[in-house]
């Protein structure tokens, strides 16, 4: 009897041990993703591009548009002109070769929520996903954190679920080591933990077989099942993450750097392909210049960090970064030295070694009104074909990333929008 019992238990334990290797029982793992990684960096609130990538100097007889231009002139780095403001010089000098600036993009609104919707989905109305959501859904929806967001405008239109991360992302290492503490010690016997996971998978698959499940319940269970299947990959990724203390030392108060660092490590680990980074506070209705200087400094520091880190990780050539905001700020100061909402703003698009960089497209006049462009040359023209709006940029990005022909994009056409060739 004793022998039989032991045999029985041993067979259970062998089964349990097998569960420690998810390949044996869980989903097939697809081939590693080898395409580009796409990031957006969203300056929430409305940045002042006249102090950044669409520099404006004060004009005689007109109300001041920038305070920096009382003592300085617009600067140039390669094919890019910029405002000598905050840490712009360092940034543009270092990165102009990897940079395309698109100015004069009319968001067609001055409401924040609609501005975000327009800039990151390509249309004013709700219902469309972000570029990054489309990209992740088209290329690697099966990855555990295919689409990262740090609280940015990250609508996914039910294509997939963004992995929403907050400031506590710095503590992730300690919370993704399935069944283990942050020192790697097993909190539950590893064999037992594997058996538990197996039971959960079986339970959920069994529940999903019920054809009377309401669709929303089905959706939740399926999400649970997919999450279960991802836990080993996340656990491996967690081991590559810095500790909370290391994160803090890295960022020195600039949370954007933590976001950048986490996203790059996730790309490198093969668990993510797109991310939305975000920093807020750009809604500078009062004391515009001081606040924009601080924020733009953080922003350029973070972008600089992104490219340096990506180089170190060996993925710099695979990164596409899009930087933008809700809209921009008025071409004049209000009574509180602030600036209010102005629909004409800019995008930065960055990629190493791309043919479209080190140049500027789109133009605004001295009062930051968008100028019409000739569609064939993309130069300003008195009788130009188009004025740029976010749909043009998003449509071009879709094509550049081969999303225009992807099946997931079919439900979200950007109609009545010209195809602008920003990226040739």
């Amino acid at each position: 009897m004793v022998k039989n019992r032991r045999q029985f238990l041993n067979s259970l334990l062998i089964a349990g041990a097998a569960m420690a290797h998810p390949r044996l029982v869980l989903a097939n793992e697809p081939a590693p993703f080898s395409g580009k990684f796409v990031l957006t960096l969203q300056a929430r609130g409305g940045w002042d591009v006249t102090c950044f990538c669409d520099p404006k100097e004060n004009q005689p007889g007109l109300a001041p548009i920038t305070q920096w231009s009382t003592s300085e002139r617009t600067q140039t780095a390669g094919g890019i002109v910029y405002a000598p403001f905050a840490k712009n010089r360092e940034f543009f000098e270092r990165h102009h070769r990897a940079l395309l600036v698109i100015n004069g993009v009319d968001a067609q609104t001055n409401a924040h929520s609609i501005g975000e919707t327009a800039n990151w989905s390509g249309r004013l109305a709700d219902g469309y996903p972000s570029l990054t959501a489309l990209y992740a859904a088209a290329n690697a929806p099966q990855l555990p954190m295919a689409y990262l967001s740090f609280g940015a405008w990250s609508k996914a239109a039910a294509l997939l679920r963004p992995t929403m991360l907050g400031h506590s992302v710095t503590q992730m290492r300690g919370f993704m080591l399935a069944g283990r503490d942050d020192q790697g010690q097993a909190l539950v016997d590893p064999t037992v933990w594997s058996l538990i996971r197996k039971m959960h998978v079986d339970d959920t698959q069994s529940m999903l077989a019920d054809d009377t499940l309401l669709p929303a319940r089905n959706r939740s269970m399926d999400a649970y099942l997919q999450a279960l299947k991802s836990s080993e990959a996340l656990s491996r990724f967690a081991e590559s993450l810095p500790s909370n203390t290391e994160f803090q030392a890295l960022s020195r108060g600039n949370q954007l750097i933590n976001q950048v660092h986490f996203a790059l490590l996730a790309f490198k680990a093969g668990v993510s392909v797109s991310a939305d980074l975000v920093d807020g506070g750009y809604d500078t209705h009062a004391n515009n210049d001081a606040q924009q200087a601080t924020l733009l400094g953080k922003l350029t520091d973070a972008i600089d960090y992104l490219w340096r880190s990506a180089e170190q990780l060996g993925i710099a050539e695979r990164i596409l970064l899009v930087v933008g905001s809700d809209f921009s700020r008025t071409p004049h100061y209000n009574s509180g030295n602030g600036k209010d909402h102005w629909p004409v703003g800019s995008y930065l698009v960055m990629e190493k070694g791309a043919p479209f960089t080190n140049r500027m497209i789109g133009k605004t006049d001295e009062r930051q009104n968008a100028l019409s462009l000739d569609l064939s040359t993309l130069n300003p023209a008195a009788r130009g074909n188009i004025k740029l709006n976010p749909a043009h940029v998003q449509k071009a990005l879709r094509r550049y990333l081969n999303l225009d022909t992807a099946s997931v994009t079919r439900a979200f056409p950007l109609i009545n929008t010209e195809q602008v060739d920003f990226f040739s």
Partner: protein, 1128 residues
């Protein structure tokens, strides 16, 4: 009357079904006799029943939009004439039974004739008796069975219709007329009439916002939505194309006067569309056929139904459990579940209402309120640099001058208190069943003792009250600067500024103008004002949360920059801007007295910004002394009404908002995601979008429910009424689908979605069920700190600053974090529970830590002998099962005082063997050198027929029997004691079954399975039996974990983060013991453990000689990482 199977609650459906009671014009009637009548006592009856139906239809065809009268006409038995009678009616829809109440509303009925109640009493029986049954609309397509009955005075028998009348309604497809109407509307009406004229008033926030006709501003889908608005207008009883044309041309008391000229081109265009819509309406009516068919077999009828009706609702007890976990964190007791199972829907209603009190519910409300208002994202709700609150100012001053950190000492706690106050106010209103409008109109705020002291609150707290105890209080210690004398200079402690000290005070503000949430410090701070924002953020969110107006979305259309470059006060003068600002700015003006620092006229005069009053460029200001608001903005008000108050503007605004019908629907929307787990569907705006039709249908269904819940709230202003009905509705209780054609719409509507528990709910549930307060501690200084909050976003929650929307569906990271937490919780949960006495345990009430499946009997005995030759016997009665057993005698407490080479003193256990004695007197003895005896362990020696045990040794005898046998096991023992130890030598006898551990049935295996059943009920809310496959599976896990523990060779748990349970020590130690176990750190921020005390205390808690604790840890880890644990 019909007997029924168990039914679910569903008043909701029938409330929808009846719709609003409004006036009507009757045009046609039908009468139909029931096929037969019967008496409940089996006697013969001559009674006859008929239903009479009257409607506005003249064709015998009905629509869900037409008014109906349904009456019961019956002829009683002759001898009953002139008697008084009670009359009954039951309607069956979707196999659920509903009883008609005297107020002509329905309540679910369980089919028990003993609970049958009449809807009409004291009806005098005549030859033909007619009693009105229903008056209203049938708004839900589907099949309705109607049973009726009466019971005459002093007559025991009930006369009833054994077969029902069946009313069948089928929906129609969209007609060609509607398609043509859409085409013409798009080309002729949308831009030229609706968007240019009607919408000036008939729009969200417009003058005609409460009219039956409301349009959407121009956007890609507005044409279709607006056409549907016209169609819906015509569907309202009493409305017609002519009515609308009359109003549009200035007649019919149209407050908007003439908008089109009768006979003109616009008139003709509108008329053409309206006529087509009427034709469409008629077509729809044609498609809706009613039949009165007594005895119609349900199985023969195919009827369409709605997305809400095409579901099976959860049993009442499941609803109670979900609600209970959601709102109070705890699982209902077995008695509570039985009560609602055996009761009716009103029992459930009462039980649900009973959940809405107590600290956990308060926390739930606070959490929900924050998810909406985001007050936790406030930066500086109570700024102590201002002198207006002198006590607060001097607290800051004195703290700094004493060399202490104000923020560390008081600032954090005051901020936490201030941002919690909004949720506490909502909780106070709901729990106290005060008018819900008081969340805005309260002439007080909620204060804890800290706020009460420093703001001069009027509350009286008991001395034991802490930071989480809140009471309503009014501020009495607020001063305008002229009423204060402060120190002349700002003072410093070293380089740290202490600021001014208030030296004396005169007269405080007599009537601090509290206005509920509108004057809440957290709310004002979360949406700060600036010189150009001018309270518009505060206004935006006021309109959004309390009137349901999303001002940004209300004008979601392209603007050109030229319109925005207008500098001629565009918010007043530019139509592109005024669209929103007409609604927004008056509300902003109502906040006129509240500064960017959330102070009421902090300078004593106004709250206008400096830049407005004194322009930096030296230009003339529009400001005039005494002004409270900007002259270049609209006057403070709400919609078309200007406020009359200057001082208590928010109080007046609050009372005006509370009178708006939209306040009620906004309240429903405020609570919708908290109860149903998902945000309500937004009206889709682009017709060509994929899923537009499904979203529209989901939106319409939800809006109907929003309106129904709002009506419930409006009846008594009692939020509990509304919350109860929300939880009684299919949106909360839908459990499974009965039909598949509505799947796409149900998905869009998230109908029946399990609610992913947010961080606070997960924390509450885990604490209530396991007793573990995971990584949540209160410092000696009284500050509570929780990783649930720190990890909020990772757990699917919000941070109230950047991440503002809770996750409703799991992501891999959320699950990973949840699983890490639960893996960490499992050990302290098990260890603590087993360390408590049986009566105090939360989970393990059926087993203790020595219960393992195969253990039949065990006993530990003192061996008091002091010399090897001093033999004694210890006895354990037991029953040897047919599958056999092994008998083990082991040394329970070996001890050696080892000096590195030898034991200076030690305990030794000597054995001569065991005897088995039967009641008959027969006895079988096994000496230690018998071949059946095995000895295991280190330092265990057999010496002839005896053995010497120095350490954890054991002897085992295996028995195989042909039949069960009751015997007494006798161990023959002696001992050598350790003189310095007071505890004597101890020996343990165990009798272990040799059956298959997975299939054997022993008292212990049964107890373990019963414990699993109880845990599944508590943790997952499911009823399972000990024989179920689910229990077998979990029991298998238990066995594997037990075996893994045994194979580890360890007698204790070596990895257990007990310290992550903030309640671990306080739950296990008395206050006196706790004082010995830990003491405050020097700065009061944390507890310093004393391991000289805790070490020995911890040893028995972590001891796991049988492996059962580790097995239960595995079971708990499984249960708490299961889908059903993290969803409700």
């Amino acid at each position: 009357m019909p007997q029924t199977s168990k039914t679910s609650h569903g008043l909701f459906l029938l409330v929808m079904l009846l719709g609003a009671m409004i006036g009507r014009a009757q045009a046609d009637s039908s009468t139909l006799a029931f096929a037969s009548a019967a008496a409940s006592d089996g006697s013969k009856t001559a009674s006859r029943f008929a239903l009479q139906l009257e409607s506005t239809s003249s064709t015998g065809r009905l629509s869900t939009q037409q008014l109906l009268d349904i009456a019961i006409a019956f002829t009683p038995d002759p001898h009953e004439t002139d008697l008084k009678a009670a009359v009954f009616a039951v309607v069956v829809k979707n196999n659920a039974f509903y009883l008609l109440r005297p107020d002509r509303r329905f309540t679910p009925w369980n089919g028990d004739i003993g609970t049958l109640l009449p809807f009409a009493e004291d009806v005098t029986l005549a030859d033909t008796t007619r009693v009105q049954l229903l008056t209203g609309k049938l708004s839900e397509p589907g099949e309705y069975q109607i049973f009726v009955a009466y019971s005459a005075q002093n007559q025991a028998a009930l006369k009833f219709t054994p077969q029902p009348a069946v009313l069948l309604l089928e929906p129609a497809e969209q007609s060609p007329e509607k398609e043509e109407a859409a085409r013409l509307y798009q080309s002729n009406l949308e831009r030229s009439i609706v968007q240019s004229r009607c919408i000036l008033c008939h729009v969200e926030g417009g003058v005609a916002r409460n009219a039956n006709l409301k349009f959407q501003r121009s956007m890609s889908g507005s044409a279709l939505n607006n056409l549907n608005s016209l169609s819906a207008y015509l569907d309202i009883a009493g409305n017609s194309a002519e009515t609308l044309l009359t109003k549009a041309s200035g007649g019919g008391g149209h407050p908007g006067g003439q908008q089109i000229v009768r006979g003109g081109a616009d008139y003709a265009a509108l008329e053409q569309v309206l006529k087509l819509l009427e034709a469409d309406q008629s077509a729809r009516l044609q498609g809706l056929v009613y039949r009165f068919e007594p005895g119609q077999s349900l199985s023969q009828v195919t009827s369409a139904t709605s997305l809400l009706a095409a579901v099976e609702l959860a049993p009442r007890e499941a609803t109670l459990r979900r609600a209970s976990i959601l709102m109070s964190g705890h699982a209902p007791s077995a008695e509570q579940l039985a009560a609602v199972r055996d009761g009716d829907d009103n029992t459930l209603r009462a039980a649900l209402r009973g959940l809405m009190s107590g600290p956990r519910f308060r926390d739930f409300v606070v959490d929900v309120t924050n998810e909406r208002l985001l007050t936790r994202g406030s930066v500086d709700p109570l700024n102590s640099n201002f002198i207006n609150f002198p006590r607060l100012r001097n607290l800051h001053y004195d703290t700094v001058m004493a060399g202490k950190d104000y923020w560390q000492e008081y600032g954090h706690r005051l901020k936490e208190s201030a941002i919690r106050a909004s949720g506490e106010l909502v909780a106070h209103v709901i729990i106290g069943e005060l008018p819900y409008s008081e969340i805005l109109t309260a002439n007080y705020m909620m204060m804890n003792p800290l706020l009460n002291h420093y703001l001069g609150g009027t509350a009286n707290f008991p001395p034991t009250a802490g930071d989480k105890d809140f009471l309503p209080a009014r501020i009495t210690q607020y001063y305008f600067p002229p009423e204060l004398v402060r120190s002349d200079e700002r003072e410093f402690f070293g380089s740290v500024e202490a600021g001014h000290k208030v030296l004396s005070t005169r007269t405080p503000l007599a009537d601090y103008p509290h206005a509920g949430l509108l004057t809440d410090f957290g709310f004002l701070s979360r949406y700060p004002t600036t010189a150009t924002n001018r309270n518009r953020a505060r206004a935006r969110w006021t309109l959004y949360h309390f009137l349901g107006i999303d001002i940004e979305k209300s004008s979601q259309r392209p603007l050109d920059e030229a319109s925005l470059s207008d500098r001629n006060n565009p918010t007043m003068n530019n139509p592109n801007c005024a669209v929103c600002h007409t609604v927004l700015d008056p509300v902003a003006g109502a906040f006129q007295n509240w500064s960017e620092w959330n102070m009421y006229r902090e300078n004593g005069y106004d709250a206008l910004d400096h830049f407005y009053k004194f322009p930096a460029d030296g230009s003339a200001s529009a400001y005039r002394q005494g002004d409270l608001w900007y002259r270049d903005m609209r006057l403070p008000g709400l919609f078309e009404t200007t406020l009359t108050s200057r001082d208590a503007t928010l109080r007046e605004l609050a009372s005006r908002i509370a009178r708006e019908p939209a306040f009620l629907t906004a309240a429903v929307r405020f609570w919708w995601p908290a109860i149903f787990g998902e945000n309500p569907v937004v009206l889709p705006s682009v017709e060509s979008d994929e899923g537009f039709a499904e979203k529209s249908a989901a939106y319409a269904a939800q809006q109907a429910s929003v309106a129904a819940f709002a009506r419930v709230l409006g009846e008594r202003g009692n939020a509990k009424d509304m919350l109860v009905e929300m939880m009684m509705s299919p949106w909360f209780t839908a459990q499974s689908a009965t039909r598949h054609e509505f799947r796409a719409v149900q998905l869009q509507a998230s109908l029946g979605a399990p609610r992913l528990l947010g961080p606070a709910q997960l924390a509450a549930k885990t604490l209530e069920l396991t007793g573990v307060n995971w990584r949540t501690t209160t410092s000696p200084a009284g500050r509570t700190w929780s990783d649930y909050e720190n990890m909020s976003v990772m757990l699917g929650g919000i941070d109230s600053i950047t991440v503002l929307e809770r996750a409703s569906v799991l992501t891999p990271t959320i699950l990973a974090v949840q699983q890490s937490i639960m893996a960490e919780v499992a050990c302290p949960a098990v260890v603590k529970d087993f360390a408590l006495d049986e009566n105090s345990r939360r989970m393990f009430t059926l087993v203790d830590a020595s219960v393992t499946p195969l253990l039949l009997d065990s006993g530990t005995f003192d061996v008091t002998s002091t010399a090897r030759t001093q033999w004694q016997e210890v006895r354990l009665p037991t029953r040897i099962p047919v599958e056999g057993a092994s008998i083990t005698v082991s040394f329970a407490n070996p001890y050696c005082d080892y000096d590195g080479t030898k034991c200076l003193e030690q305990r030794v256990l000597y054995l001569q063997g065991v005897s088995l004695r039967h009641a008959s007197g027969a006895q079988l003895r096994f000496s230690m050198n018998a071949p059946e005896v095995r000895v295991s362990g280190d330092n265990c020696y057999v010496q002839g027929s005896e053995a010497v045990f120095y350490s954890s040794c054991k002897m085992t005898v295996a028995l195989q029997l042909d039949s069960p046998l009751d015997i007494e096991v006798i161990a023959h023992l002696s001992a050598q004691q350790a003189p310095s130890r007071t505890e004597p030598v101890r020996a343990t006898i165990e009798v272990v079954s040799q059956g298959n551990i997975l299939t054997v049935s022993t008292p212990n295996s049964r107890a373990i399975k019963e414990q699993i059943v109880a845990l599944v009920a508590d943790f997952h809310g499911r009823t399972v039996t000990v024989e179920s496959p689910e229990v077998a599976q979990i029991y298998g896990l238990f066995v594997v974990a037990l075996e893994r523990a045994r194979l580890s060779g360890k007698q204790q748990i070596d990895v257990c983060h007990w310290y992550t349970d903030g309640n671990f020590l306080s739950d296990l130690l008395t206050p006196a013991q706790l004082r010995l176990a830990r003491r405050p750190s020097p700065n009061g921020d944390w507890w310093q453990d004393d391991w000289t005390y805790l070490g020995p205390a911890m040893q028995p808690w972590m001891s796991d000689a049988f492996g059962a604790k580790r097995a239960w840890i595995a079971v708990l880890a499984y249960l708490m990482t299961h889908f059903d644990y993290v969803h409700e």
